[in-house]
């Protein structure tokens, strides 16, 4: 059953000028429960605009968004319910921390949903256990934490609402390599523990190859492609034509194939690359 269905979504920012192309044109797709979807595209391709539609922060000019087969705008007064079902983690979420303590900040979302206090406590502790926010931090001010820790707490605040779909808008931007790795790990752990559907906007094709099931490619507000990671990354020509590229390891393999070396096509991760080259090596020594 499809969890989230977008039909013919179009949007233009009001007061649009010739400078603004950050709009969506007739976008349609379907997301199944439990999938991890990566959204890729240039700056200005409409990625952030699209995800803000999915939890009702923006209202389409035309088209519809169906969450569990219900149009989210059928009853505009109930739109807040949609926002607790579809959690959105903005870019640089740590800028939105505001409470006196880490615990209060994480509890803020569930509290606003009207959940009972003891239930809130469970939400907070469960999430912190899954993504590694230490209990010793609970009574600290979130502003005393390091950059990476702050972001972890800000993400926990959205996860604590137990959304069915959680969306991350460039979750690793501005972090150092260790910080980036940690955030990818958090997302994986959360996905494993809850089975939630995950949508990630990213510029990092290498990360996408490892974490995503499917990729949604946006270009100038239009849906260019929506398919499995394998299908998308095997269409390098089209990706290049819209200024995107395949993972670096895939480019190395393409170069080897071009030189006539007999290696597998469609290698997108280092792990798969090693497997493939081991086979080549074993094949050679048997010959």
């Amino acid at each position: 059953m499809s969890l989230l269905k977008v039909n013919n979504l179009s949007y233009a920012y009001s007061g649009a000028t010739p400078f603004f192309n950050d709009a969506l044109k007739d976008v349609s797709f379907n997301i199944e429960k439990g999938e991890i979807i990566g959204i890729i595209g240039h700056t200005g391709s409409g990625k952030s605009t699209l995800v803000q539609h999915l939890n009702g922060l923006l209202k389409p000019n035309s088209g519809e968004i169906l969450l569990e087969n219900e149009n989210i705008w059928d009853n505009p007064k109930e739109i807040r319910k949609v926002r607790s079902k579809v959690g959105l983690v903005f870019q640089y979420p740590e800028y939105q921390l505001f409470e006196e303590t880490v615990y209060k900040d994480i509890a803020f979302g569930p509290k606003n949903m009207g959940i009972a206090d003891d239930e809130i406590d469970k939400c907070v502790r469960d999430i912190c256990a899954i993504i590694g926010v230490k209990e010793e931090h609970f009574n600290k001010s979130p502003f005393d934490l390091s950059g990476g820790e702050k972001r972890r707490v800000a993400i926990a605040g959205v996860m604590a609402m137990k959304p069915e779909i959680i969306i991350f808008d460039e979750p690793t931007s501005g972090l150092d390599p260790k910080g980036r790795e940690d955030i990818i790990e958090i997302i994986k752990n959360y996905r494993e523990a809850t089975g939630a559907t995950v949508i990630i906007i990213s510029h990092n094709m290498e990360d996408m190859a490892v974490i995503a099931d499917k990729l949604l490619v946006l270009n100038k507000g239009k849906l260019e492609m929506f398919d499995t990671v394998e299908k998308i990354f095997s269409n390098r020509v089209k990706l290049n034509s819209i200024g995107l590229d395949v993972p670096i390891v895939t480019r190395v393999f393409d170069e080897l194939i071009k030189r006539g070396v007999d290696v597998e096509k469609d290698i997108f991760t280092v792990e798969k690359a090693i497997e493939s080259l081991k086979k080549v090596k074993a094949g050679d020594s048997n010959a």
Binding site: H42, T43, P177, V249, R251, E255, I274, L277, D284
Partner: protein, 283 residues
């Protein structure tokens, strides 16, 4: 050797929560005129403190920073050091002040009291140097992140510095914007002979540098050519840094018993190394 920057046994301390921390400890570094140096390190390794020490925004607690023979502690040289060592920061939106591109670039030279004719010349030349001349009359806020950052760089070049220090100039940009900035920096270094110190944690950006310095806990832990640095995958990982995926691939191959060299960065070099290793097997 002709060094434009000399950092000599510098310690920089700051007080937070009544505790004294040192961001850099007994740190020494000499940077040759006209060179392109990349400084790598994770957040909190002291990279940004070093940048601010170099152009005199911070003064050393102990030790000296000498820019072209001038000590940053000497107030007499304060303005001259800031002119000679330009700084570019992470967020382009925080660095642009005027509503028209050319006015923004003119701001620095105007403050130096330069003649209007000369300012006009410098603004045009600077914008051409960063390939942004066609936007001379545009509004910065309508430009992309990479374009804004290039305007910020043009504003620095207009003051005719000998050295530019860039503190994570690409951290907030998309891959296209990042490429624009790196190409611009390379061009300034190669064509205008401006000394470049680039602080980053994107390893790919170090590929074309003359020298890579790795910092951890306020100290230098490695200082060599990009290839040498990248081939030491374990050292980089141990301080929370990453390697380009090409290096990662060859490092993993080596661990899996392939006879490959790991000091490669480009796609071509990686393909060369793999091809060679496979041919060796055949023999």
């Amino acid at each position: 050797m002709d060094n434009i920057i000399e950092v000599k046994n510098v310690t920089y301390e700051y007080v937070d929560d009544n505790l004294t921390h040192s961001a850099v400890k007994d740190f020494s570094l000499a940077v040759e005129r006209g060179s392109f140096t990349v400084i790598l390190g994770h957040n909190g390794s002291g990279k940004s403190t070093l940048a601010k020490l170099i152009n005199g925004l911070y003064k050393p607690t102990k030790g000296d920073v000498i820019v072209d023979g001038m000590n940053t502690k000497d107030e007499l040289y304060e303005t001259e050091i800031k002119r000679r060592v330009g700084m570019v920061f992470q967020n382009p939106d925080n660095q642009l002040i005027a509503s028209i591109v050319e006015e923004d670039v003119a701001f620095g030279p105007e403050n130096l009291g330069i003649e209007p004719d000369e300012i006009r010349k410098r603004v045009d030349e600077s914008l051409k140097a960063v390939d942004m001349y066609e936007f001379v009359k545009s509004t910065p806020h309508h430009l992309s992140g990479g374009q804004k950052q290039r305007i910020a760089i043009a504003g620095i070049i207009a003051m005719q510095p000998d050295c530019i220090v860039l503190d994570e100039p690409t951290a907030m940009l998309d891959p296209k914007g990042r490429k624009e900035i790196i190409n611009t920096i390379l061009k300034l270094n190669r064509e205008k002979n401006i000394t470049v110190i680039l602080i980053t944690h994107y390893m790919e950006e170090a590929e074309n540098a003359d020298r890579v310095v790795v910092m951890n806990d306020g100290a230098i832990i490695a200082d060599s050519t990009p290839k040498r640095i990248f081939s030491d995958v374990e050292m980089l990982k141990s301080v929370g840094l990453d390697v380009p995926q090409t290096t990662e691939l060859l490092y993993s191959l080596k661990k899996n018993g392939f006879d490959v060299s790991t000091d490669v960065i480009s796609i071509k070099e990686a393909a060369d190394a793999i091809e060679k290793a496979l041919h060796l097997e055949e023999k």
